[in-house]
Symmetry: C2
Subunit: 245 residues, 2 copies
């Protein structure tokens, strides 16, 4: 694929992992810009030399390699894509007004600082109670994001207004795992009775051409979580086994 | 002071705390741009209505209020100052090239993710061992930043090259506390035998007009740490008492 990209995307390679919410963000941003890229799936148990060389500090995916130069960390990659390809298809991911940019960065940062950190024990908690407690906290974080959506979108379809912005991409990357939370620990976190605007936003977001096929199915994430927990020596906790049957 | 600023800085208020490394970053950025601002010292035990209203999500300093609109989170504030005031005195804080911007954001993010998180137990660790272990890890993080300095500065005085950039501002905000670490727990972390380039950089950085007077003295930080530990119900651990006598 390399070299035949429309819109200036030649020389783009993404090192990723299908289940990683951070990788999904980078892929959505590349799609929004209409950029063609080579996607390489990494094996976290046997990381490639290219990954270790490209991200020697964190040794993590995603890494975007553009003309041989690596860019690491998902939010930095999304901003890089927006800044390095300003003249391709698709609206800018960050707004042009400095204050609007600061607000977008604030909520994008909130997703990483609060939503992701709160959610992690659902993935790798040691007890069922720990997972349920985390899921309850995730609902509270999403309720804050519901208010943020109200303010940022101003009645329009996305956090970015009429088009998808940084917060949409960053939060959107989480959707698969948020949907999977009910199967994993029995708590529905994407819940129209608690966060109706976010639930409607999530449906709109997942229906976008740039997003289709990137948010993994719940069943696949549940199986992945079981495998990862086994690999980490963690117990296979109920209720997701019950729900799967 | 409000209203008489040179260079377009009218209507700027910063809610801060003298000892906060995050607040220091914002103040350095404002100074680099030559902006005049009203500085309001907050009392963390009795936060102002303005702080609670301006940063309802985190309730933390710094908050920059520009023409009535709040900007929160130190790295977002620094970027906001750079983007909202492009035509005032001082070189841009972020480089113009998208790849160079991504690299600057990567190392700035590394300072928050690794240096700050590693350093926290020095401030509020429960045992002397915990503090010493944290200090040892801080040295390792600084050694990684030494290598980053070599690559980013390319033989010039700052991470940003000839002028101060995002990484300089973000890491520079930590310097007071890094210097104070030896007094607090007996481990010298700013050590010319281990990170000679960073030590020389720190001296250059602290000598800048935009920085002078903002990096607190070690004695004052040590006293502040004692008071905060007492407030948090933490034991007053050696060796900083010994060193102070």
């Amino acid at each position: 694929m390399e070299g035949d990209a429309p819109g200036g995307g030649e020389g783009l390679t993404l090192l990723g992992l299908w289940a990683s919410l951070f990788v999904i963000r980078a892929r959505i941003a590349l799609n929004l810009k209409g950029l063609t890229y080579v996607y390489t799936e990494e094996n976290l148990s046997d990381k490639s030399e290219l990954l270790l060389k490209s991200n020697p500090v964190h040794k993590k995916v995603p890494v975007l390699i553009h003309d041989g130069k690596p860019v690491c960390e998902s939010q930095i990659i999304v901003q890089y894509i927006d800044e390095a390809f300003p003249n391709v298809a698709g609206a800018p991911i960050l707004p042009s007004d400095p204050y609007d940019r600061a607000v977008a960065r604030f909520w994008a940062s909130y997703v990483d600082d609060k939503l992701y950190r709160t959610w992690v024990p659902i993935f790798r908690g040691r007890t069922a109670e720990e997972r349920v407690q985390a899921a309850t906290q995730v609902v509270a974080v999403l309720q804050t994001l519901e208010q943020a959506f109200k303010k940022c979108s101003k009645g329009k379809p996305f956090f970015g207004g009429d088009s998808v912005g940084l917060v949409d991409v960053v939060l959107g990357g989480h959707l698969g795992w948020l949907y999977a939370t009910e199967a994993i620990c029995g708590v529905k976190v994407v819940d129209a009775t608690k966060t109706p605007l976010l639930v409607a936003w999530a449906q709109r977001f997942c229906a976008l051409d740039a997003v289709k096929g990137l948010i993994p199915d719940v069943d696949r994430l549940v199986e992945y979580n079981k495998t990862r927990r086994a690999g980490l020596g963690l117990p296979l906790l109920l209720p997701y086994v019950e729900l799967q049957q």
